[in-house]
Symmetry: C2
Subunit: 216 residues, 2 copies
């Protein structure tokens, strides 16, 4: 296998290397969160020099932005599938949120998108990513509106977007840092105030979906 | 002034140094966002060695967590003041959100709290911060419920917490990175999809406040 990495002149070899880099970055982030993974550690894991990795992805942020785009596409497909059999607010919210709870790496990447992943990237990388996100949300808008039964398509778009925004907000709160984990172990009253991911996400998204039509 | 920084053995001098460090960190973050500010640049700005700064704040994150706590206290006080004259959902939401729009540094810090500021800190620093946040939200809960007129105190707490969580979510989206700013200049259709801070925050919080009572 290593042999294949020495030269990558043919397109299929280049694609292979890109995939290997993405796989290594995915595994490292799954272990300890994207926050702690450096470009150097991705290079080491995949057995390439850092200078070689940046030929495929200009920066660490571009690698994770690509994984975030993959996450958006896969999540959108699963939600669309689940919405086909969904009816009413509870099932619509369940389809949007349980699929996020099942994707911790995607939620981790959502929590870092605007503050980190959209920085230190090229304009073409930013464009490709934004088009994926808007494409997924645009495709889901009508499905969400139809399954919910009480929303316009614009409101369906907003609810789908809010699901991912809120997931990015609640994920790092519900998965506290080592310092906070120790604090919660010492102070049960503070631990009780730390929201659980899925119930909090469902409650906030349900309230939002129920409230949007009152603003028309 | 520099002279005063050579020795700081008396408590008022120590307090002076802490304040000088916080002021420098505040100014640097206000210029370009907290994201790009290192402990070294804070030390340089305040005219101290890095080894000296860490005697006052163990890490860069602890400095900004302290500024975030100051932000919470100041925001909470202003909201409480505005809620005294507020009545109904629109005025309640205006009090909670316009006070956030007027505090860009606080919103920047909110956007980094769970993903960055709560990492790489001591347990006592984490405890002090969490107690400030829960104290402010606890104090606002009843005021929000009373001004809104249709919420329980628990729901008032949730709406106040959601205001800050959503501000942390929307702020970095509404203030795009250089790469995204260039992309938006080139692609007006993508720029149109980028939400404005205050209208988006108001709409989401209004929907949430209107929807929460339907979940009882």
């Amino acid at each position: 296998m290593k042999q294949a990495f020495v030269r990558a002149r043919r397109p299929e070899h280049k694609q292979q290397r890109r995939e290997a880099i993405l796989a290594a970055a995915r595994d490292l982030a799954a272990e300890s969160g994207m926050r702690t993974v450096s470009l150097g550690s991705v290079a080491t894991a995949v057995g390439l020099a850092k200078s070689n990795v940046v030929r495929y992805f200009g920066t660490r942020e571009e690698i994770y932005l690509e994984l975030a785009a993959e996450g958006w596409t896969a999540w959108g497909a699963e939600v669309a599938e689940r919405l086909r059999d969904a009816s009413g607010q509870d099932e619509t919210v369940a389809a949007l949120t349980e699929t996020l709870a099942g994707r911790p790496l995607f939620c981790d990447l959502l929590s870092h998108t605007a503050t980190t992943l959209e920085h230190n990237i090229s304009v073409p990388a930013a464009r490709a990513f934004k088009r994926v996100v808007l494409g997924v949300l645009g495709d889901l808008a009508g499905d969400v509106a139809h399954a919910h039964g009480g929303l316009t398509e614009r409101e369906g778009f907003e609810v789908a977007a809010a699901a991912t925004a809120l997931a990015g907000t609640f994920y790092p709160i519900a998965n506290p840092s080592p310092a906070l984990a120790q604090l919660y172990a010492e102070d049960p009253d503070l631990a009780a105030a730390c929201p659980e991911f899925l119930p909090t996400l469902k409650r906030a998204l349900s309230a939002l979906a129920a409230g949007l039509p009152t603003l028309r």
